[in-house]
Symmetry: C2
């Protein structure tokens, strides 16, 4: 049980955490902060937070738990902003998609009396903003927690208990391992989608070909419509892992290209491998839901 929790950034994730905290009654008071025009008022109205403050330092003052739910690109400035005001013993956690860089900033900028516990909920929806917030958003989804050797174990346990109370399933892993794994299953996919769109639209026949594009293109291009700013922040903070995956992907494509160029009937095996792997993943994924 927390006396006071502060949520910085009241979008879909921050707002949903606020609603979930109220639902499970794990905090006496939830206060919030957001720079967006009218966002804090709307967050109060939907019941995600109980009160709001104009200044970043005021919102974290007296909070035992601070949740950073802003875009990764503003995380460093937020950490600098709250550092002078957080109480000794406070736990600070975040929900950013990349962990190593954020944790490095946190350990560099926050007072040593404060513990930072990196977190990353594997949940989301097409809609964004506090209006789309949902107390059940994390229900059944994996929520990564990425402690380091500097993270106090009691702080890690408290964050894990909070995450479980929201219905999510905790997975502990190191920041490096987290970043490498999400680079493969989340960052590589959006870059593959963006590259696909940019490749086909640059062709002189795109105007005509666009009319022939159907469900396959629709699925493979959907991620390209995502937020450019979010994608850029992810690439800037997880560059090394992403480059490794892009190199692997390019090598796989290059090998596929040779098989196609040679009209190699063994292409079938590569296609069967992919089909089986996808079907296995899908079965596990659906069972997990």
């Amino acid at each position: 049980m927390f006396q006071r929790v502060a949520i910085i950034g009241l979008g879909l994730i921050g707002g949903s955490i606020g609603l979930a905290l109220h639902k499970v009654k794990i905090a006496q008071e939830v206060v919030g902060y957001d720079l967006g025009s009218g966002v804090t008022e709307r967050a109060c109205r939907v019941g995600a937070i109980d009160a709001t403050y104009e200044a970043l330092t005021d919102v974290v003052r007296g909070a035992e738990l601070v949740v950073l739910a802003t875009p990764v690109g503003s995380m460093r400035a937020i950490l600098q902003g709250i550092a002078p005001a957080v109480m000794p013993g406070t736990i600070v956690t975040d929900v950013a998609s990349t962990k190593e860089q954020v944790i490095q900033w946190a350990e560099e900028l926050l007072p040593t009396s404060v513990t930072f516990v990196g977190g990353h909920p594997m949940a989301g929806k097409e809609l964004s903003g506090v209006e789309a917030a949902d107390a059940e958003l994390f229900q059944g989804h994996i929520y990564c927690i990425t402690p380091t050797e500097h993270t106090r174990p009691t702080a890690t346990s408290k964050v894990a208990a909070l995450v479980e109370s929201m219905g999510a399933r905790v997975r502990f892993l190191s920041p490096v391992e987290h970043d490498r794994q999400v680079a493969g299953v989340s960052h590589l996919p959006f870059l593959a989608s963006i590259a696909l769109v940019n490749t086909v639209v640059e062709s002189p026949s795109w105007g005509e070909a666009a009319l022939l594009a159907a469900n396959g293109f629709r699925d493979m291009s959907r991620l390209a419509a995502g937020s450019p700013a979010m994608y850029r922040d992810i690439c800037l903070t997880n560059s090394e892992a992403i480059v490794g995956w892009l190199d692997d992907y390019i090598a796989t494509l290059q090998s596929l290209r040779e098989h196609v160029a040679e009209r190699d009937r063994d292409l079938n095996e590569l296609f069967v491998d992919a089909q089986q792997a996808r079907l296995r993943w899908q079965a596990t994924h659906e069972r997990m839901k």
Copy 2:
């Protein structure tokens, strides 16, 4: 109006053509042929065909229009099989995903008294088989017709009229141009999906990372679950165009890789380009429906 239409291959597409022909009453009799166990019986039962024959030569005998709706891989053998039995003046059309190779086989194997008109309906669904057949499958969708200098214009017109009667929108283009365009918007996407799956599952951490894979991975891997035999046939019959697109895709990825490695903030522009192009395509695509 046709006295008799023969459909070879009674899967989703062949079956749907049979149902559509009955619905618009454009053929007096529709006969069908399929090698699959019990398929012709089921096609009769759902009303896709009126009668069936054991031998390929019998089913095309007396038909003014023959529709080839088998996988591309069996097309050459089918053309050889029907060649001795088709009447002079018969129109033969197909629904294969690649056109140049199929048309070359047709022009080489069919008697000169017969006209081949290449076709490709841009419609489909997740389900396959005659049970999933639907008279409305082509409604509003583009249906490519790819005449060559050897195609009699009256035959092209008759096939176009048939296609329009099924509610589809005819688009005429050359076989080469068709193959190049679908290679970009349809074949490159499935290869990108297959390569993505094969890249990430080969990693030693896949067992763990699979648990973190969410909606982005789901969309980008969906095509990889498609039919390996169909994908192989497409690659074997459209190798040149596909290799060209794979080279362009690899070059785009390579350039993206350099931007990510340099932590280049201009990545944003590439992401905005892709986002805008995807949103424009989506708006047109939805308007077309």
